[in-house]
Symmetry: none
Subunit: 258 residues, 2 copies
DNA sequence: ACAAAAAATGTTAAATTCGAACACTTTATG
DNA sequence: CATAAAGTGTTCGAATTTAACATTTTTTGT
């Protein structure tokens, strides 16, 4: 009964990331190793496993790994970002028009959004889809040229689009913040968009973890004076105190210990 | 400079599902095969590829396959849709402005897109992200109010956005097609968008599997006369022949047997 | 700028794994 | 019940891999 054997291997691969032909052969002593090989071929066709030298790797574990590496390995300070957006969600005001920036930080806010009537606008397609999934009725996705690396839309269309939209509260995630350069990002087109958002928003909330401090990237999209609230996970460097006080910025420091 | 070589291999794996050590060795004659092997080891650690006997498989293609098999189980006529979009990809013309409709059908076109310079515009955020992933430089995402059920944008913003864009070839997937009602969809806002696309496109290509025949949904967004090409998997019902001929529509029937 | 450490690379030969071919058995199918 | 299709076993030459050690290049700390 090949059937049963294959199913057993299949279910092994639900909990084991890797099996060798050798161990499977020992597990099923009444069939030859060649048969095991052929079983794995079948499972490979069904995308249950991938055949590698000496055995097979479970597809489930492979995709999990990929997810992990997308969501966390390449991303730094995941816990900090989580804590920051959790706090940011407290600033959401029902009925208001709220802008959410592109990027890994704001993407995490979805699960902290209370069940109320918000009107969201975002430049991040993944985030927009996430917001829809939790049943929010009013999700505006800014259109434009899509930049795959940054998961954001840019360009003239995006700018025009934003021109038509009113924003009460904007949540932005700069790539850098320094006393000299203010809030910065790595490229012009992204900065261009954020600049418009800042100019249109009544309340500007900047979200950033400590890795952004004293960093200055090529394009400044806002000065310290433009920010109303900064949410972060560590006290800002001392040399920024003057700027913060002068511009009357509220700095909220969250606890990111797990 | 190992750095550049690895990046080259990395980017090869964006468009190639599988590379062999042998071909890589020939591509980089000044390093030994052992070095290539070690490059792949690195890429494996970064989850870019999986090492298999003789070479490596691109992680992106692996996960795509999985996604396909997960979503396909619930979807109907997957094979037909695959065959249809594969054929549709033949109508893509490099350098043209191409519109791709929202929906599960067109979402499948990503892997059939040849490696050339296209300019795509779409109303489907997932599709847009997919197009970016394969490295297309020019992906326009139409903005607007996002309808999570249909994974599409609608509303006044989307309409205005489309107003600014020129379309050479439009690929659309109607929900129904009948002699009496023409091409139809289930809701007004979706139809509104498609109607604009049809009016702006030089060439209109309709993609639909047999399940759409003789179906008439609430909103008509195009008459038979608006279509230039229909790609489907079965001959249209006989009573449509008159309409097809009168409007000089090219009907292409694909083979969807696996 | 220098030395030490770390990373990258090359070469070899032995060990392992693979695959193709053919024969045979069991299970489906009309 | 006959035929086709799928599953299985065995063998051995071919291809691939690994390990180990030597050498070079790059990075890093002081």
């Amino acid at each position: 009964m090949y059937n049963n054997r294959r199913e057993q291997i299949r279910s092994m691969l639900q909990t084991k990331a890797y099996v060798t032909f050798k161990e499977l052969s020992e597990l099923f002593p009444d069939v030859s190793e060649m048969t095991i090989r052929r079983d794995i071929e079948h499972l490979e066709r069904e995308h249950v496993a991938i055949r590698v030298r000496g055995g097979a790797r479970s597809m489930r574990f492979i995709t999990n790994q990929v997810d992990d590496s997308i969501t966390s390995r390449q991303q730094k300070n995941v816990e900090s970002k989580e804590a920051i957006v959790e706090k940011a969600a407290k600033y959401l005001e029902p009925g208001r028009s709220i802008f959410l920036d592109s990027g890994s930080t704001l993407q995490k806010i979805v699960k902290y959004i209370p069940n109320e009537r918000f009107s969201f606008t975002t430049t991040d397609p993944s985030l927009a889809l996430g917001l829809c999934k939790i049943g929010l009725p009013m999700v505006n996705l800014v259109g434009g040229r899509l930049d795959g690396n940054n998961q954001t839309v840019t360009g003239i269309h995006a700018m025009r689009f934003l021109g038509d939209i009113n924003i009460d509260i904007a949540f932005l995630s700069p790539s850098g913040f320094s006393a000299r350069s203010g809030f910065t990002v790595g490229n012009y087109s992204e900065g261009e968009i954020k600049r418009i958002v800042v100019s249109k928003a009544r309340l500007v909330v900047m979200l950033m973890d400590e890795s952004k401090f004293d960093k200055s990237l090529p394009y400044t999209f806002a000065d310290a004076a433009d920010a109303d609230i900064i949410i972060t996970n560590r006290p800002l460097p001392a040399d920024m105190n003057g700027i913060i006080e002068k511009n009357n910025i509220t700095v909220t420091i969250v606890d990111d210990t797990i």
